[in-house]
Assembly symmetry: C2
Homo-oligomer: 404 residues x 2
């Protein structure tokens, strides 16, 4: 029945593209429109409506969820149109104006799909858990640090719980939380609402306070020097360092073949010592966890299995599993392992979507791991795919289990 309703709604929305009368007219601005802007909008069927002024354009499309939807032009040269129903939560999208893929000028911008571009948040029934609320507020701190491994300044975000500054001698466990391919360290603070999820959990006493470090999942060799304008210092004078401003160059999928070693070295030789020196951490494996989504989940598995002296708990969100063989083949990892959390969006399990892992059944693998004596947990995000709502929910669940 639910499936039937979805099909009917899809038909309605798509029909709406050619005849607005047929789309449910209860659109409201998405929660993440720009200040003073009214679009993108979402209706109760979770169709996304965009609007753009392009008087001389021949064709304008909304490109979301891998589908391009034609917009309609009115007499004033304003283009408007809707998508089919989207899953609850966050979706990257773009506009196509006469063949040019461009951001929607009225949306907010996020780093994903290997570029800064538009994103729309479809209100979710459970959105309260990541809403900004009047509860004790933690801080999302932006940090630059020198990496010997990368021979460059790197950039990360560090979440500290509200009580951190009020307990100047207390030390905290640390979760290292990684983004997915084509994304960067802005993903968890922005699309993921990490600070809001943790502040709300802590306000309800559902989690113990810990620090969260969100770094870039790419390992970059120092860039070659570029030719410099004569009139000014060479830009490459800043290239080996993080680019200026709040938006350092992200990594995404563009990384060397040996990225796994590169990231492991970056974490173990540069990032973790920096965090343990600048923050009041409990600097041992028992109080250190790593988790990540998709590519970040694969990094989490490769690093935590190889470095039981550094990490004792891990979470893999839409990025594979930990198997009984992983523990059999790595006795020291098995000996010190405290917590394993594996999650997927329900549509990933239905569709065997990318990020599903090695083809085995992750639920069975996790159950087997649990049966072998490991504190293993499997979570499925209902009605979502390989997308941020699955990962917001995964963090919400995982954070309640960590460092107990």
């Amino acid at each position: 029945m639910k499936r039937l309703i979805t099909i009917l709604t899809t038909v309605l929305c798509i029909a709406g593209i050619s005849a607005t009368a047929q789309v449910k007219e209860d659109f409201v601005p998405a929660p993440n429109v720009q200040a003073g802007k009214q679009y993108p909008q979402v209706n109760s069927e979770r169709c996304v409506r965009v609007r753009v002024v392009a008087p001389e354009a021949k064709s304008v499309k909304l490109d979301i969820g891998g589908v391009k939807y034609d917009l309609r032009k009115d007499a004033e040269g304003v283009w408007i149109g809707e998508s089919a129903p989207q899953d609850e939560g966050f979706h990257y999208y773009q506009l196509n104006i006469d063949g040019a893929d461009v951001p929607d000028p009225s949306s907010l911008y996020y780093y994903g799909a290997s570029r800064w571009g538009s994103g729309v948040d479809v209100p979710a029934a459970d959105q309260d858990f990541y809403a900004v609320k009047n509860v004790p507020q933690g801080q999302m701190r932006e940090i630059y640090y020198w990496s010997e491994v990368n021979q460059a300044m790197r950039h990360c975000f560090v979440y500290t719980p509200a009580e951190y500054d009020l307990n100047p001698t207390k030390r905290y466990p640390v979760l290292y939380l990684q983004h997915g391919g084509g994304e960067d360290e802005h993903g968890w603070p922005q699309q993921g609402h990490t600070a809001q999820i943790m502040d709300n959990l802590l306000a309800e006493g559902k989690a113990v306070p810990f620090i969260i470090v969100m770094d870039n999942g790419s390992w970059t060799m120092p860039r070659p020097a570029a030719p410099a304008p004569a009139a000014a210092p060479a830009p490459q004078a800043q290239r080996p360092q993080a680019p200026q401003g709040q938006r350092p160059q992200g990594g995404g999928f563009a990384m060397p073949a040996n990225w796994a070693d590169g990231i492991a070295n970056t974490f173990i030789k540069d990032l973790i010592p920096m965090i343990d020196s600048r923050f009041r951490t409990i600097p041992d494996a028992a109080h250190r966890a790593m988790a990540g989504l998709s590519m970040g989940g694969m990094q989490t598995k490769s690093i935590t299995v190889a470095h039981p002296e550094v990490f004792s708990s891990l979470g893999i969100f839409s990025g594979g599993t930990i198997t009984v063989d992983d523990t059999k083949n790595n006795p020291e990892f098995a000996r010190t392992l405290k917590l394993v959390f594996v999650s997927f969006g329900s549509r990933e399990l239905e569709n065997r979507a990318p990020g599903f892992g090695d083809g085995t059944d992750p639920r069975e693998e996790t159950e087997a791991l649990k049966a072998s004596g490991v504190d293993a947990h499997f979570y499925v995000s209902p009605g979502t795919a390989h997308e941020w709502q699955s990962w917001r929910r995964a963090l919400y669940q995982f954070a309640q289990l960590l460092f107990r």
Copy 2:
């Protein structure tokens, strides 16, 4: 002579729009392009070159510095073109594709001109002072707080110097630093490179360490409730709070007629008490300063003159002046005033540009103030207008004078 060179360069660049041969071909990617992107570029004449793929477009323009430059289309549908020489430093811009004003898909995005849009940084001879360098790093902290005055969650950034976390009992003075009209609290952290300017000054021993608070200059009444989609909790359940994610809705110019009172109340009743409770501040007027650019400078003057019990030092960047009459008419302000800093871009003084103030000569006014016994300073940013390079330099100068 300098003027002649500028004119000649302008001619060269504009000629370059129709014949590339005539523009100096030493373009390199701007310091703030997106990861892996090669545009926008800048050459040694400070012309900005953009590139966008728009195969079916009839017309594509680069809109920068109030001028629209036609781009050229090649056989593959790639449009490319250059602007006339720009001042050193940061400039907002956009593309116009068949009548649609859109962000450049390969630039980074900044909040200004009352929207998130493209920005390009033209390398400056003095750009080293705001570069990310391997020096002790402060932190740029993102904070949400409840405002009784606004009946809403508000959002600000707080810079803490590198030594802050290493001296758990030391208390620090605070500078409240405001953005301009059409901008928001992201302006100083992003376009302004506040953290880099302070980290570099402190590393060179040119400033005393202090906290910097960057809040939103708008005062907003709680928004009316919007109709809600049936299928999900009403978005307005989050509207009275800051929007989700890292990009709360900025204020810009859209503010009530009584914004001055609104901002003063927000600062004095909500923001300053919150900062004094969450950070190790020296909570008295002698250790509290306010500064701002353009509209933020006007806010700084109105608030500091009216509240000598709260602030004792102030900076006005391209936003007017403090006159001898201001001190004569406000004896308590005059009695406690410790430092006045007034600055403009040289082109503003030449052109009497917006933000110049009340029509009087700010240099003469500041000299008169100094002659009257006030520790007053006047600074002119060479070769820049009402733009961020003027304000980066103003902060760099002002920070060296503060809290001495």
